[in-house]
Amino acid sequence: MHKLVESKMIVPNIFLLTLEAPAVAREVKPGQFVILRVEEDGERIPLSVADWDRVKGTITIVLMNVGYTTDKLASLKAGASIPTVVGPLGNPTEIDKFGTVLCLGGCYGMGSLFPIVRGLKEKGNRVVAVLEARSSYLFYWEKKFEEISDRVFYITRDGSRGYPGHVGRLPEIIKFSGESVDRMIINGCTFLLKRGSDVSRESGIKTIVSLNPIMIDGTGMCGVCRVTVGSSTKFACVDGPDFDGHQVDWKELLQRRKMYLEEEIVPLRTSRCEEHKKESR
């Protein structure tokens, strides 16, 4: 059992959870995730680790409420017990001295991106952070990003903060900033990963995306998380979740993510990402 130490909504529909998980906190590195089960015989869902405290033995998760399990989790109060928190799973994001790295984050991905930015800075990279949301009120952790990154840019769909539009604006931002980007790292919903990769393909910038297919065990046992990268099939939980965004078969991934849509009797608000898709067309 893992105690929920703290839970709060930081922006509409996005929650910050702090959990007791000493074994995970001891080993976790940027880019890894946990699998969590909110109740006995409940579904197992993967969630990225957005921060940790090795001394206190806690981990932080940024949770977007999109369906049954995430909703249950979001409704828990501090002090509640969570039966399963297993990890850290997946490979850590590759962190090295690359030069200038553009880190792009949206929805829960702003959270999981943060430790990556921190790691990159520790290695002496120049980091340009680009955060994307529908509207200005959906940003969180801006201060943390501003303190640690060399520059931070914002993009909002409604233009309420920073550049209006979506990640399609990225080339302009790069050009305007005068930065020469050596690598791009994207965390967030699948559409952000895909569109970000489309944009950087043209400029030939190596782009690493953290994929989020459906998962069950997270240890390579079930194969539900398989994705096509280049010409081969990979299991995102053990071979990833980070892959070269220019090699991912996006169409297949988007289709596979919708596998259980019908069953998941998705409440209206789940269609945040779907909305995003429509808007970004």
């Binding site: 015989d41 399963t84 799973l89 240890t219 390579g220 046992m221 398989r226 289709q255 919708k258």
Partner: protein, 470 residues
């Protein structure tokens, strides 16, 4: 000399009462109902109590078969269960899923005339009898030795090692990646063949004996083997063969194409068949094709049928080469499963939303025997056909998961990703590390995994009594 050796031979192998096919194909309750007491005693009385008993030598854990059968004949069930448990800590499981027809029963002297003793059913009878007793006999536990053993994986191999070593007074901790123990017994073999209460009961028993159980712990990720060895005197790796194979044919990543592991895990571990009561979703499919011919394939196809689909097996050889247990093949046939023999899938076709809608297959003919001794299937040119399906389960095999090999220094690995371990002792190339079960042999059987666990625990005990003597 026992009374029935002088009697006329009774060749009437007592049948197993089962749920009727028409009924059972719509439910998830156990198919075989178990012998009633009287029948069990009758069956036991048929045993000739051979002096040189072949049956014992063909049991991988060498259960004293005539002796436990004699106890049943004398209605001394508590002695019977004690004799069984001397060699087999999971009799309720083995009595149900052991391939007896190739092991103990194959060697029974009465086999020639088709009257071999139903050893497995009698084993199951005793185990089920014990489960009904309110007072569970607890084994003697030796005084604590102060030594600690880490067991990786809660499948039959790991459970055996844990049970053996705790009785010898060693401290034992099982680390299990999933949230439930039992390995394939829990997440793989379906409820209608092996009720999950049986597995839970065995796990509870180990807990009572004092085994510490840590679930949701992926060795190699949560903590490495190297790091655990700083805290534990010895380690046994029984992590199984959980990595599913696919055929690598076009369209295999379409929605609706599952590995057997995913399909069965959704059903068993996550109780998908109770969706939406339990939350892991499982699709309602109408036409399901299962690729493969082993026990795993039979379990998948019968599961699919129980969920209301028209379910078929697609197998590239013919019926006699089917590697599944005969009993399960017959059960499947009775339940109306369709078998497409000498058929190989070559491509999947999808609809506009990425869902599988069809499968292209080619007919095969059998050529010369291959290295496995079975006749090699050869495609017949021009025999391709397409037929509609809305789900496919790929049950063509598994290999050991690379997580532990990849994260452990100095562990010798074979070409199939299996951990190399000594057959007699279970010792690996890494000091203080033993391994056994499917992770060493590749996908095999419950009883072989338990046998490997038994050998390893003996060797671990020896080592712990005189450490430094690797």
């Amino acid at each position: 000399m026992s009374e029935h050796q002088t009697k006329k031979l009774d060749m009437n192998r007592r049948g197993m009462p089962k749920q009727l096919p028409e009924v059972r194909k719509h439910n998830f309750s156990e198919v075989a109902l178990g012998y009633p007491l009287e029948i069990a005693v009758e069956e036991a009385k048929r045993c000739l109590q051979c002096k040189k008993s072949n049956c014992v030598s063909k049991c991988p854990v060498e259960i004293n078969i005539p002796e436990f059968i004699q106890a049943i004949a004398e209605k001394d069930f508590s002695s019977g269960i004690r004799i069984l448990k001397e060699k087999n800590c999971l009799p309720a499981v083995c009595g149900r899923v052991c391939p007896q027809e190739e092991q103990c029963e194959e060697a029974c002297v009465l086999k020639k005339k088709g009257g071999q003793i139903a050893i497995g059913r009698l084993e199951r009878f005793l185990a089920d009898w014990e489960a009904e007793q309110t007072k569970l006999e607890m084994p003697k536990i030796l005084p604590p030795t102060g030594r600690k053993v880490a067991v990786v994986g809660g499948g039959p191999a790991g459970l055996t090692v844990a049970g053996d070593l705790i009785k010898l007074g060693h401290g034992v901790t099982i680390f299990e990646a999933l949230h439930r123990l039992g390995g394939v017994l829990f997440y793989g073999i379906p409820e209608f063949r092996l009720p999950k209460v049986i597995v839970s009961r065995e796990v509870e028993y180990l807990k009572k004996l004092g085994v510490e159980i840590i679930t949701d712990y992926v060795v190699g990720k949560t903590r490495t083997v190297d790091s655990l060895l700083e805290e534990y005197d010895a380690m046994f790796i029984g992590s199984g063969a959980g990595l599913p194979w696919f055929m690598n044919i076009p369209g295999e990543n379409l929605n609706g194409i599952y590995s057997a592991n995913e399909y069965l895990t959704r059903m068993n571990l996550m109780k998908g068949f109770l969706f939406p009561q339990y939350h892991t979703p499982i699709k309602k499919h109408r036409k399901v094709a299962v690729i493969g011919g082993g026990n795993v394939a039979m379990d998948c196809v019968r599961t699919a049928q129980r969920l209301g689909a028209e379910a078929r097996i697609i197998y590239r050889r013919s019926r006699i080469e089917l590697p599944a247990r005969l009993e399960e093949i017959e059960n499947a046939e009775e339940e109306g499963i369709i078998f497409d023999f000498l058929t190989l899938p070559i491509r999947y076709l999808g609809d506009e939303n990425g869902w599988v809608k069809g499968i292209e297959v080619i007919k095969m003919e059998l050529g010369e025997p291959d290295s496995s001794g079975r006749r090699r299937p050869i495609p017949i040119k021009g025999s391709e056909t397409i037929f509609p399906v809305d789900a496919v389960v790929c049950a063509i095999g598994n290999s050991p998961n690379p997580l532990i090999p990849a994260s452990t220094r100095g562990l010798e690995i074979g070409k199939n990703g299996n951990i190399i371990a000594d057959e007699e002792t279970g010792k690996t190339s890494r000091e203080r590390v033993w391994a056994g079960g499917d992770v060493v042999t590749g996908a095999a059987t419950v009883i072989l995994a338990m046998g490997a666990g038994r050998k390893a625990s003996r060797s671990i005990h020896e080592y712990l009594c005189s450490p430094g003597n690797w």
